[in-house]
């Protein structure tokens, strides 16, 4: 601070300062900073001049607000130095400044006599009182250059307005604590404020006249004049005595001689000049939203405010239909489409010119800027500039979204410099925005960019502990001057805005905008610093839509399945269960049929059982080498989560057969398979200890684990990976025998020999693992079906589903080898015949259960849906509540059939003796049943006669009409759209119902109106509006259950 040095030597300083002040008078372009110092110095002198009287003290208090403490020191020094008061009075120009400066300044009564000297500046308008931030602090004098009297009045007006507009959003006393503010309030010692009536509409003019008069005549004893835009018919004059006011007003044509002059009570004085909060919102550069017209709801930025006429100039992104505009300009009639609102698009002159729209480029009279004019519309840089009434915009609580702001941002614009967007944001801060310990940065004022930590929050005042150590311990700021501050690397959570709930690490800080790397999507998110808090929590933004959540395994519309790897606003990204190559599809909520939420298991390459959460390694295929816990298993396909896999949210889809179970350290298996780590232990042990040769052991003991999980009577034993394994004895007296390990005791193993029906004890070293011939324990594995006493006790039909439990994973073992079960579902059992007819499951899957059928086939039956087809049967037989179903066996084939609904077609279909009505539409069955969206009405859709279908069988492709629905579910279909072709018998899987179009005649396949015919009179999304033939009632039904009727 150069000034400090100079202040030490009084005389020298004064000279210099005199010079500077003189300079000041002609140059108001002084830099703010410099101004500040000067001002300080001046103020110091002023107080000196008064001999350190009360006025000086008051000023000190103001200066204390000045957080810059070097500045304070500066001042201190001044005071010390001038203790003797040896300085000559320094009111040369200061007196005049005292006139136009704010009320506190004016309290220097003694200096009135100097007023005559000053004639350089006189501020006439309330707005001009606060021309910039510094003035706001109420602690400085501002110099305005002498104006040429000839100078364009417009220019002055414009500038005045500009100042006014710019300043109106700045509040008074931002940096002052309340008490300090109090000290600034006028007291009895101060000049009074008088209200003077003047000609209506001429308030400003009157004020300017008074200013001119003050400049012309040195004897006027008024201090200031204020004209308020919102106050018509009056101006305020600040003066000691009423007589002074009268004197000043004498002869002005806008003030009637008879006009009453009223004294404003001291208490109200402050109110006169306080800025209404409303105008805070309506400042230039603030964000507003349009209330009316095609721009309704659009974000706009205020470019100019006219408080008198209550109009605002805004810029917004035009919604202009150039085509329509062109037509209109050419005088053609424009058909006004009412509902059509053109999308917001930047105006492109070239495009417009191409369409022969005349674009004029004119200079705006007031601002001197160039605009493009088209048919009275004003454009600049692609934005539309529009003058609107203040009443037609929303000004409160505008929270522009990021996208909107981005659009408004010109490339290269510094977001941070955009104070308006900040202040708008700040207005929306919640209470308790800042908390102790928050890292903050100062964004306004002298201490801009100062960093610190919040110490204490009192209402709007936030005390912070600055980061720089040589500053005072704590500093007080208004919360509007602060912004939360984050550093790259901080882990944060978004607490408001579009991205609410997301967490991530800060990658970059651009002013008050943070770029965050989302934890889950590993993508960048841009958010306002104000919208985040530091957090160690990890979440994504939205993780669920409807019933589906991120990482759920879901069944899709076309009966494929996959894992949700990403949740977008209205759709999911699903990694499909195709093992060869990763296939990601974007699906809408309605395209998901249900969540696959059952515990299945699959077998790895070595026939180890893999259950969810087991760690596996992919040993072949595209994802070879990947490793991680299994998240989902479905139809022999594993979804593995490898956190090193960067794509697809870390999910890998692989065939179970391409994977190997590995040792690892995942929870879930604690307490089992102790020996699996033997190899690793071996590494720790001396190489000599080969007693338990670990290499022989399989990496893990999944079977055993399995037994434990299901508690299938083997709980106590089986803590060894080997237990339950099928092994071959490779040496010793039993060499060559195969068997299953029953128990492991140290180095000895008890093995149940397959061929000899006895259990023998062999040395562990004598056995070899034989994964290839493994017929692992069936009992525990199929405990659901085999061991739970409940199941066998049910009707034999239940057994139909047994194979379904493991449709893809373990097709062979189920039925083929367990005698009990094969008995149970031998399809020929007489009592079931009749059911079988009604049981759609048999249509698709019965061949599968014929003993001797190649085992793989049934489960991977033509339509994956086939496995599900038996659902209705199940629910009918078991008739449990859906809830129970889920609880017992969370498998997809158990539908949420509301059994209570007597009219659901499935119940109907199971009535013995109604064989005709049971066929079903293959494509829909499984899905509709499961679909929670479609609900009751959407149960299996059975075909009905006369329905138009598409035959999807090789050779017979084409439309056809269902003539008869056979007992086994297939249909007799007459080919041809009118049904006059050949009759063929087609499996339901080879049929597709033809969906009706509007005005088509339809037949209802499902729900309470099954079998009814009617006319589709309208389609609303997924709903069809149907007029029934019989009753002429109009019904709204799901399109899925409507079929086109053959004509």
């Amino acid at each position: 601070m150069a000034r400090r040095g100079r202040d030490d030597d009084d005389d020298e300083v004064e000279e210099e300062e005199d010079e500077e002040e003189a300079y000041d008078l002609y140059d108001d372009e002084e830099e703010d900073e410099e101004d500040d110092y000067e001002e300080e110095a001046r103020r110091g002198k002023a107080s000196r001049g008064k001999g350190g009287g009360g006025g000086g003290g008051r000023k000190r208090s103001r200066e204390d607000n000045f957080i810059d403490d070097s500045a304070i020191e500066d001042d201190d020094e001044d005071d010390d130095d001038d203790g003797g008061g040896a300085r000559p009075k320094k009111k040369g120009g200061g007196g005049v400044r005292g006139f136009f400066d704010e009320e506190a300044q004016v309290d220097e009564d003694e200096e009135e006599e100097d007023d005559g000297e000053g004639e350089d500046d006189f501020i006439n308008d309330a707005g001009a009182d606060i021309p910039d931030e510094d003035a706001v602090r109420g602690s400085r004098r501002h110099s305005i250059p002498m104006r040429d009297e000839e100078e364009d009045i417009d220019e002055i007006e414009r500038q005045v307005r500009e100042r006014y507009a710019r300043s109106s959003h700045i509040e008074y006393g931002e940096e002052a604590a309340e008490v300090e503010q109090q000290a600034l309030l006028p007291s009895v010692k101060d000049p009074k404020l008088w209200m003077v009536k003047c000609a209506i509409g001429h308030e400003r003019e009157t004020a300017i006249c008074l200013m001119q008069k003050f400049i012309d005549r040195s004897d006027l004893q008024i201090k200031s004049v204020v004209a308020l835009d919102h106050l018509k018919n009056y101006i305020y004059v600040e003066a000691e005595k009423e007589a002074h006011v009268k004197e000043a007003c004498k002869g002005l044509r806008n003030i009637y001689a008879s006009a009453k002059i009223t004294l404003v009570p001291i208490k109200e004085m402050a109110d006169v000049l306080s800025v209404e909060s409303k105008s805070v919102d309506l400042s230039r550069d603030s964000w507003v939203r349009m209330k009316l017209g095609i721009y309704k709801g659009d974000l706009a930025k205020v470019v100019d405010v006219d408080n008198v006429r209550q109009r605002v100039d805004v810029k917004l992104i035009p919604r202009i239909d150039l085509q329509a505009l062109a037509s209109k300009l050419e005088g053609r009639e424009v058909v006004k489409k009412k509902a059509f609102v053109p999308p917001p698009r930047f105006f492109n002159i070239d495009e417009a010119r191409e369409m022969h729209i005349r674009v004029e480029r004119r200079r705006d009279k007031e601002s001197g800027e160039y605009f493009e004019w088209v048919d009275n519309l004003k454009f600049k840089d692609g934005f539309l500039y529009k003058s609107v009434s203040t009443k037609s915009i929303h000004t409160n609580n505008i929270q522009p979204t990021f996208d909107e702001l981005e659009k408004f941002r010109k490339p290269g614009d510094d977001m941070n410099g955009d104070m308006a967007s900040l202040s708008t944001l700040f207005a929306n801060r919640k209470k308790g925005h800042f908390m102790k310990g928050d890292a903050v940065i100062v964004i306004k004022g002298d201490l801009k960019n100062l960093e610190g930590w919040v110490e204490k929050v009192e209402d709007e005042t936030v005390h912070i502990r600055p980061k720089i150590s040589d500053l005072p311990k704590t500093l007080a700021f208004n919360e509007k001057e602060l912004c939360k501050y984050f550093k790259p690397g901080d882990h944060v959570k978004v607490i408001s805005g579009v991205q609410e709930g997301a967490t991530g690490m800060v990658v970059k800080v651009e002013g008050h905008v943070l770029i965050i790397l989302s934890d889950t999507t590993k993508e960048h998110i841009r958010v306002f610093a104000d919208h985040v808090v530091e957090s160690s929590e990890i979440t994504t933004g939205i993780t669920r839509i409807g019933d589906y959540e991120l990482h759920d395994l879901v069944l899709l519309d076309n009966l494929s399945f996959g894992v949700i790897i990403r949740v977008e606003t209205e759709a999911f990204q699903v990694l499909k269960g195709v093992p060869d190559r990763p296939e990601v599809v974007l699906v809408k909520l309605r395209e998901i049929k249900n969540k696959i939420d059952r515990r299945t298991s699959a077998k790895d390459r070595s026939n180890n059982i893999i259950s969810a959460k087991d760690v596996v390694r992919v040993v072949e295929g595209a994802s070879r080498g990947k490793q991680g816990p299994v998240e989902h298993i479905h139809k022999g396909i594993l979804f593995i989560y490898d956190r090193h896999h960067l794509e697809h949210a870390g999910f890998i889809c692989a065939k179970a057969q391409s994977c190997l179970l590995v040792g690892g350290s995942n929870g879930g298996r604690q307490g089992n398979g102790m020996d699996s780590a033997d190899a690793r232990l071996g590494a720790l042990r001396s190489p000599a200890s080969i007693l338990q040769s670990p290499g022989r052991l399989p990496p893990r003991g999944p079977q055993m684990n399995y037994g434990g999980r299901y508690g299938g009577g083997r709980g106590g034993r089986g803590y060894d990976a080997l237990v339950g394994k099928c092994i071959k004895i490779k040496s010793g007296p039993y060499k060559g025998y195969r068997g299953r390990v029953k128990e492991v005791t140290g180095a000895l193993v008890r093995v149940e020999l397959d061929s000899l029906m006895k259990i023998v004890t062999v040395k562990r070293d004598d056995i070899a693992d034989t994964p290839t011939v493994a017929t692992p324990f069936r009992e525990p594995r199929y405990s659901l079906g085999g061991e739970t006493p409940m199941h066998p006790s049910r009707t034999p039909h239940h057994a139909y589903q047994t194979p379904m439990r493991d449709p893809g994973a373990t097709p062979i073992h189920d039925g083929m080898r367990t005698p009990m079960r094969s008995r149970a579902w031998a399809p020929m059992s007489p009592p079931r015949d009749n059911w079988e007819d009604g049981n759609p499951a048999t249509w698709s899957s019965s061949p599968a259960y014929q003993p001797g059928t190649p085992p793989a086939r049934p489960y991977e039956a033509p339509t994956p849906g086939s496995g599900w087809a038996n659902t209705p049967g199940v629910s009918f037989n078991d008739a449990p509540t859906p809830r129970e179903n889920y609880a017992n066996a969370p498998s997809p084939y158990v539908p949420s059939t509301p059994v209570g609904q007597p009219m659901t077609p499935n119940s109907a279909s199971y009535l013995p003796g109604t064989p005709g009505g049971q066929p079903m539409t293959p494509g829909n069955v499984g899905m509709d049943i499961m679909s929670p969206i479609i609900g009751g009405e959407g149960e299996a859709t059975w075909l009905l006669p006369d329905v138009l279908v598409n035959v999807l069988r090789g050779g017979d492709d084409g439309p056809g009409v269902v003539r008869e629905v056979l007992g086994d579910g297939s249909c007799r279909v007459a080919l041809g759209s009118s049904g006059n072709g050949d009759m063929v018998t087609v499996l339901p899987t080879e049929l597709e119902v033809i969906r009706p179009k509007k005005s088509d005649r339809i037949k209802i396949l499902n729900g309470n109106f099954r079998g009814y015919t009617g006319k589709l009179i309208g389609i609303d999304g997924s709903d069809g509006i149907v007029k029934l033939d019989d009753t002429y009632e109009v019904k709204i039904l799901d399109m899925v259950i409507l079929a086109k009727l053959a004509t």
Partner: protein
């Protein structure tokens, strides 16, 4: 390795456990006082209470305990210590305490292990595993590091294509999959199963060390 024959210096569980220490750590005298500040790989002594079922009691109790320890601990990740890469030895197995009701016995086990824990501000080398328009991912052992394009020098631009990469305008420096980069960690996020970091190469002496052509 002749160091294998050196006599064990600490109370070893078994001779080989100590051997590790001898191989790598024993020599310098300064290293003996357990070091003071560390880097991403540490040799550290941790303690864990192990529960063991009584059926494992017997001559091999200690082995059982250790094998369970290995199984439970190796490969895990904790916020405090990072990834436990390998257990190198067991220092001490305390007295077992029988848990009431269950019969399980809890043993406090002190073990030495190599852990891997990246720190903010640390500079390390990593292999690029994926490049996209938002930046690139790199791997340093089990730890993943993301370097955002905001933290890649401004003169490097993203080039899409078969091998997406970041390249300087003159083409002299290229970051693509398998490139080796030297980066500085600016943030870490540790959760129960993984450590994820963000890093920067926008600083002096950071950036590509070798491109895949040069790297084997």
């Amino acid at each position: 390795m002749d160091s294998l024959s050196q006599p064990p210096s600490k109370r070893p569980l078994s001779s080989s456990a100590t051997d590790f220490r001898e191989v790598s750590l024993a020599s310098p005298p300064a290293a003996d006082d357990e070091g003071e500040r560390s880097k991403m790989f540490f040799h550290i002594v941790l303690e864990r209470n192990m529960q063991l079922h009584p059926r494992h009691f017997g001559p091999h109790l200690r082995d059982k305990l250790v094998s369970k320890l290995i199984k439970d601990v190796e490969g895990t990740c904790s916020g405090r210590h990072g990834f436990v890469v390998a257990i190198t030895g067991v220092e001490d197995v305390g007295k077992g305490l029988i848990r009431e009701g269950t019969g399980y016995v809890t043993f406090p086990v002190k073990y030495q292990c190599v852990v891997f824990r990246p720190f903010k501000g640390e500079i390390l080398e990593a292999v690029v595993t994926m490049v996209n328009k938002m930046g690139f991912f790199a791997e340093a052992g089990p730890v993943q590091i993301f370097v955002s394009n905001h933290l890649i020098p401004d003169d490097m631009e993203f080039q899409s294509g078969d091998v997406p990469n970041y390249t300087t305008s003159d083409g002299s420096v290229k970051i693509q999959k398998e490139s080796e980069v030297r980066l500085k960690i600016i943030g870490t996020r540790v959760d129960a199963t993984e450590i994820f970091c963000i890093g920067t190469i926008k600083d002096d002496f950071l950036g590509v060390i070798s491109d895949p052509g040069a790297a084997v």
